[in-house]
């Protein structure tokens, strides 16, 4: 076993981790650990854009962005954090541009912006062009640019090191334990400050836009060390995943004028969101799609609808909506425009469905997409561990794995990329400053034991259960019973199933007992994380007897601010999940009914 010593250890090398690393490494000895090569991180999959009120094409302001985000969150987002993020967003996007990020450009050479769901001009209520984009590969460009800057600045990486445990000494973070994939050796990283930037856990659901790596490792590791998880009942289902595969079709498609169509050829979003129609928030659109399909208006009665971005369709509805260009001329697109703005989407559709979006509509269904909840932090990205927001010294979290909370009950498109950059950056600065003023906690002699025990238990388990079957049953259960719509009954059933699966998980059988690249072992460990998070998600969702944002209960269809305007905290104790609650931070915007 090797021991390393760094002042700051960053776990995760996606947008949040790399941004943190760039800042921390200027101030303190920093190492970045990632289970994937950094450029394989899921930030690279983000397509549509990063939201910032630059106002390059029309009037816009960070204040409008703030209000839209608060409203999008169904008033569960913490307004101090949201305001901070939306104001920082502008400067941060310029910072990315100065790092060389190749944004698409307006005719006068500025950063191009497009419409996205829920982002509006607060005076007219009309969609506003706020999403800064690089074609439909914005996340790819962000990830590449940040990684390139890390190379330029000689940041220290430990690639393909998977973190299995957090070391806590005297109530403070003192490092992490990781396994090196190439050798199977355990390494202890002794640190003054640890930043978790490990991404989401969307692999819990059957139809998902998320990568295989999205198994909630950071949240699960924290739970095992007595740190609660916040608001896990809020998980976003994106309206437009490729039918059956779940691969994401960016909301940017609708931003460019694409519309959702049912079996009758109707643009049904008109009925659900008369003002912004197809550009309502994701929770609203996904629910509308479910209702359409349930009422038999899925295409051919099946579980999918059409997303139509053919130029003739776009132009027809743009004319009906009276959509204009910035110069006042009518909004019109050609096949070439579509191909230039959405090249990746066109490639996905051709590759995986044999469908050409320029001449045919795309079959889509809602797909599990984004974790609004996660490791609770304050606005300084410090991890907080109870209802009073007590800080765990030395522990930080940022990105999708964290819950600040800027997304509340529903995230607006383009706001995750803002989140990872703004809070990733602050995590790096704050962790490094903390580290410089702190000393190392003494390292316990058995620092790696808990991690080793977890792996040994899997390796020595003597059953016949196949991990893949447990995983598939979990995914079906969660998608069908704790998905877009939920009821007491469905979730009770899910909870029983998850508990059964957790029992069976103790009897899995592994074939690979080797050390080198034992991905079977690590996949099984990740499955354990997902099962823990599935239980926490379901228990948190069962307790919340209201509908808010992505948490939509048919037995409690209304939002209930009197009882439920609060964040859930969930601890994973020996004998199950324990819940607590803490208030939402409300500064300027009193909750009111949410209409799109």
């Amino acid at each position: 076993m090797k021991t390393h010593r760094y002042e700051v250890v960053v776990v995760g090398a996606g947008g949040a981790g790399l941004m943190a690393a760039l800042q921390a490494s200027r101030r303190a000895a920093t190492a970045v650990l990632s289970k994937l090569y950094p450029i394989r991180s899921h930030t690279g999959a983000a397509q549509g854009g990063i939201g910032a009120a630059l106002g390059n094409l029309e009037e816009d302001s960070p204040e409008w962005h703030t209000y839209d985000t608060v409203k999008g969150s169904d008033y569960l987002g913490d307004q101090d954090a949201i305001e901070f993020m939306c104001h920082e967003a502008v400067e941060t996007v310029y910072e990315l541009e100065h790092m060389g990020l190749p944004f698409s450009r307006t005719p006068d050479g500025r950063i191009a912006q497009r419409r996205f769901g829920g982002h509006t001009n607060n005076i007219t209520g009309k969609p506003v062009q706020r999403a800064c984009y690089a074609a439909d590969r914005t996340g790819h460009m962000i990830l590449q640019t940040l990684y390139q800057q890390c190379i330029k600045r000689n940041v220290t990486f430990f690639d393909e090191f998977q973190v299995l445990d957090l070391i806590v000494v005297n109530g403070a973070a003192a490092g992490v334990v990781a396994i090196e994939l190439a050798t199977g050796e355990l390494h202890v990283f002794h640190a003054k400050a640890v930043i978790f930037a490990t991404g989401g856990y969307g692999r819990m659901w059957e139809i998902t836009s998320n990568a295989y790596a999205y198994t909630g490792d950071g949240i699960a590791v924290a739970l095992r060390r007595g740190i609660p998880a916040e608001d896990l009942e809020f998980f976003q289902f994106h309206p437009t995943g490729i039918y059956k595969l779940g691969i994401l079709i960016t909301e940017g498609v609708r931003g460019e004028g694409g519309v959702l169509i049912n079996d009758l050829g109707e643009r049904f979003m008109e009925r659900y969101a008369p003002h912004v129609k197809d550009l309502a928030s994701r929770d609203v659109v996904s629910r509308a799609m479910y209702i359409e399909m349930r009422e038999g208006r899925g295409i051919g009665g099946q579980r999918y609808l059409y997303l139509d971005v053919r130029p003739e369709t776009v132009n027809k509805y743009a004319a009906i909506d009276g959509r204009t260009n910035p110069d006042g001329s009518p909004y019109q697109v050609t096949a070439d425009d579509i191909m230039a703005k959405l090249p990746e989407i066109i490639d996905f559709c051709r590759t995986y469905m044999g469908v050409d979006p320029v001449t045919e509509p795309m079959p889509v269904q809602p797909t599990a997409h984004y974790a609004m909840g996660g490791i609770p932090t304050n606005i300084r990205t410090e991890v907080v561990i109870d209802e009073q927001n007590t800080v765990m010294p030395g522990l930080y979290a940022a990105g999708e794995t964290a819950c600040v909370s800027v997304h509340g009950a529903n995230r607006l498109g383009t706001n995750s990329l803002v989140d990872i950059i703004v809070f990733g950056r602050h995590a790096g600065i704050n962790a490094a400053e903390f580290a410089r003023g702190a000393s190392f906690q003494p390292l316990p002699s058995d620092a790696a034991d808990f991690a080793r025990q977890q792996l040994d238990r899997l390796l020595n388990s003597k059953g016949k259960e196949r991990p893949i079957e447990i995983a598939n049953e979990m995914k079906h259960t969660m998608f069908d019973l704790v998905g877009v719509f939920r009821t007491e009954e469905s979730m009770q059933q899910a909870l029983e199933k998850i508990r059964e699966l957790k029992e069976r998980y103790a009897y899995i059988q592994l074939h690979d007992h080797g050390k080198i690249f034992n991905t079977e072992l690590l996949t099984a460990w990740e499955l354990g994380n997902l099962l823990d998070l599935a239980e926490v998600t379901t228990v948190s969702a069962l307790a919340r007897k209201e509908s808010r944002g992505a948490h939509s209960r048919e037995d409690y269809p209304e939002r209930d601010d009197e009882h439920w305007l609060k964040h859930t905290l969930a601890w994973l104790d020996e004998d199950g999940v324990r819940l607590g609650y803490k208030p939402v931070v409300i500064t300027k915007y009193e909750p009111k009914e949410r209409v799109y």
Binding site: Y94, E344, H511
Partner: protein, 234 residues
């Protein structure tokens, strides 16, 4: 349909050398080769090792040789292969760590060698640096690279001499050389005119054929060669 997947296996803890093993798998024509590997690993042989993450051709983890050609396993459908016999092997030219997992270190070393990052020390404006859509378009193709390694490991010049920086590194350099905002083109061109640079390219086009992102790799290398020769970026 039933397909036979023949995989070149190697476990350094057990095997002296690589060997093939075959698996029968029930597949849909629209299954990705990656789906087949997952089924084999999940139901038949958990020891099989390969890398994957995004499962839709954007993270670059799963480049491998499929029926003799470098491809992404997650972007190759069974029906694209026009056969029920599928052979899967690790990328050539890199040390095999286990089964389909290769040691990418030399590949990333070459990448790092070409200064694959934006350089411009002039104080930036308060807002964005301006760039026209045409200037942006000039290097668009090479921004698509996901560093999967399919191109470099399909190149006979790289197989012959692993010090050759290879197509992926040249693509990375191209992305910055032709960016109107960048200021280090001359340094990169100098690195690429060195004896491990572009002159190892014999325009064989394997790289262009292998690129799962459709990047015109050989064309990009040609543009770099021309810039070196003429000393001009036009």
């Amino acid at each position: 349909m039933q397909v036979t997947v023949k995989i070149l296996r190697y476990n350094p803890e057990k095997d002296e050398k690589q060997h093939y093993e075959s698996y029968q798998v029930e597949a849909d024509p629209t299954d990705r080769v990656l789906d087949l590997l997952e089924k084999i690993k999940g139901y038949q042989d958990g020891t099989l090792a390969f890398r994957r993450s995004c499962a839709h051709g954007i993270c670059g983890s799963c480049a491998m040789r499929i029926n003799g050609r470098n491809r992404l396993a997650c972007k190759t459908l069974v029906q694209d292969l026009n056969t029920t016999k599928i052979t899967v092997e690790p990328l050539l030219g890199l040390r095999v760590i286990k089964d389909l997992v290769v040691d990418m270190e030399i590949f990333f070393e070459h990448y790092r060698a070409v200064k694959p990052y934006f350089v411009n020390d002039e104080p930036p404006p308060e807002k964005e640096r301006l760039q026209s859509p045409e200037e942006r378009e000039r290097f668009d193709d090479t921004t698509k690279c996901i560093l999967c390694g399919a191109c470099t490991t399909s190149c006979p010049s790289f197989w012959a001499n692993r010090n050759y920086l290879g197509p992926a590194a040249i693509v990375a350099a191209h992305r910055f050389i032709f960016d109107s905002r960048d200021r280090a083109a001359a340094e990169r061109l100098k690195i690429l005119s060195d004896h491990f640079g572009v002159y190892h390219c014999h325009t064989i086009y394997n790289c262009t054929d292998a690129c799962p992102r459709g990047i015109q790799v050989t064309k990009a290398i040609g543009e770099v060669k021309k810039a070196i020769m003429t000393g001009s970026l036009d």
